[in-house]
């Protein structure tokens, strides 16, 4: 990128361009570890408050929609499959198949967010949102549960949104031939990010939806 004036004039051939595949992947993994620590802190907060208010957490959790939680888990697991298959397809030079699989991942990501929207809407409609009169009248443990629920699923939802945007960019790069069977690290790193989003949800499901 720096001190390579020729690059701006002549587009380097994909085969001779400098790629640091291992370096790029290591960088992504380091980022993933910081995400792990970020969510890990929230999981510890959840653990401590649940220990202190076990009954309240139990009661509050029973108000969450288990079916929606499980449906969203299956959606995310399937989207992890489609993006993993998309990378294999691209490496096997099946560009069209890779793009269809990546687009499916995007659709599944959006379906997750639509479910989340309906879930949150129903809760907010019932007066259950941080700071609401209805919630503030409840015991502190339930207030903490819903605070963590909105905070953690909200932060996770933000990651899903970022992931969907990232995949739209990847789809465009594949279409334009910038991501190819021999230069796919950007897609691979997007896949790693998406799987991380999946891993976090795997822990959110039993802690919030199945805690009752």
């Amino acid at each position: 990128m720096d001190a390579r004036p020729a690059a701006s004039v002549v587009e380097p051939h994909p085969a001779t361009e400098h790629h640091d595949y291992q370096g790029a992947k290591l960088g992504m993994w380091i980022f993933i570890m910081t995400e792990l620590i970020l969510f890990g802190g929230l999981f510890i907060a959840y653990g401590v408050y649940r220990e202190m208010h076990a009954d309240d957490f139990h009661t509050a959790s029973s108000e969450l929609n288990v079916r929606l939680g499980v449906a969203n888990t299956l959606i995310l697991l399937t989207s992890s499959l489609t993006i993993a298959l998309s990378i294999t397809a691209l490496r096997l030079r099946r560009k069209g198949q890779a793009m269809v699989l990546l687009a499916s991942t995007m659709v599944l990501g959006c379906a997750f967010l639509v479910n989340k929207f309906f879930e949150w809407s129903a809760k907010i409609h019932h007066g259950l949102y941080p700071g609401s009169e209805h919630l503030m009248a409840r015991p502190p443990g339930q207030r903490l549960f819903f605070g963590l629920y909105y905070g953690m699923t909200g932060l996770h939802g933000l990651h899903v949104t970022v992931g969907v945007v990232l995949m739209a960019v990847m789809l465009r790069l594949i279409a334009r031939g910038k991501i190819r069977h021999d230069n796919f690290i950007a897609l691979e790193n997007s896949g790693l990010y998406w799987h991380l989003v999946d891993v976090i949800w795997i822990f959110l499901l039993p802690l919030f939806y199945l805690a009752a």
């Binding site: 790629h19 792990l36 202190m52 299956l74 993993a84 490496r91 822990f203």
Partner: protein, 128 residues
């Protein structure tokens, strides 16, 4: 473990496409040390689909256990099934099992730090 990795590559890959990938990357990317060094392990469609089926089965199992309303079974779901699902995703989808020792060590270290935080925090809250 290496033997298993090798077997996976040898038998589960669709034969023709794998060869075409090998040839192309070793020709075009020879300056970077060949196909495996440049692109890493190529996991087959079949392996990914099997892992996905296992993940769906484990999820349904987890829901079943939580519906039993037995605290011991629910604890099994939380402490065994959930980490098992996460490690399946990390090992196969994030292909950690085909990464080098340094990468694996980094992930184990990060989880280790998290467990230390968890232990220290709980030792404070549970025994104060």
């Amino acid at each position: 473990m290496n033997g298993e990795v090798y077997r996976d590559t040898e038998h589960k890959q669709p034969e023709r496409p794998r060869m075409s990938t090998r040839v192309s990357t070793s020709m075009e990317g020879s300056m970077h040390g060949g196909a495996e060094a440049e692109g890493g392990h190529l996991t087959s469609y079949a392996t990914f689909i099997k892992v996905w089926l296992a993940l769906v089965a484990l999820t349904l199992g987890l829901v079943g256990l939580s519906a039993s309303h037995r605290p011991d079974l629910i604890l099994v779901g939380l402490l065994i099934i959930t980490p098992a699902k996460a490690s399946l995703v990390m090992s196969y989808f994030m292909h950690l099992r085909h990464e080098g020792a340094a990468m694996k060590l980094m992930v184990v270290a990060a989880f280790g730090v998290l467990v230390i935080f968890l232990f220290l925090t709980f030792s404070d809250y549970l025994y104060r």
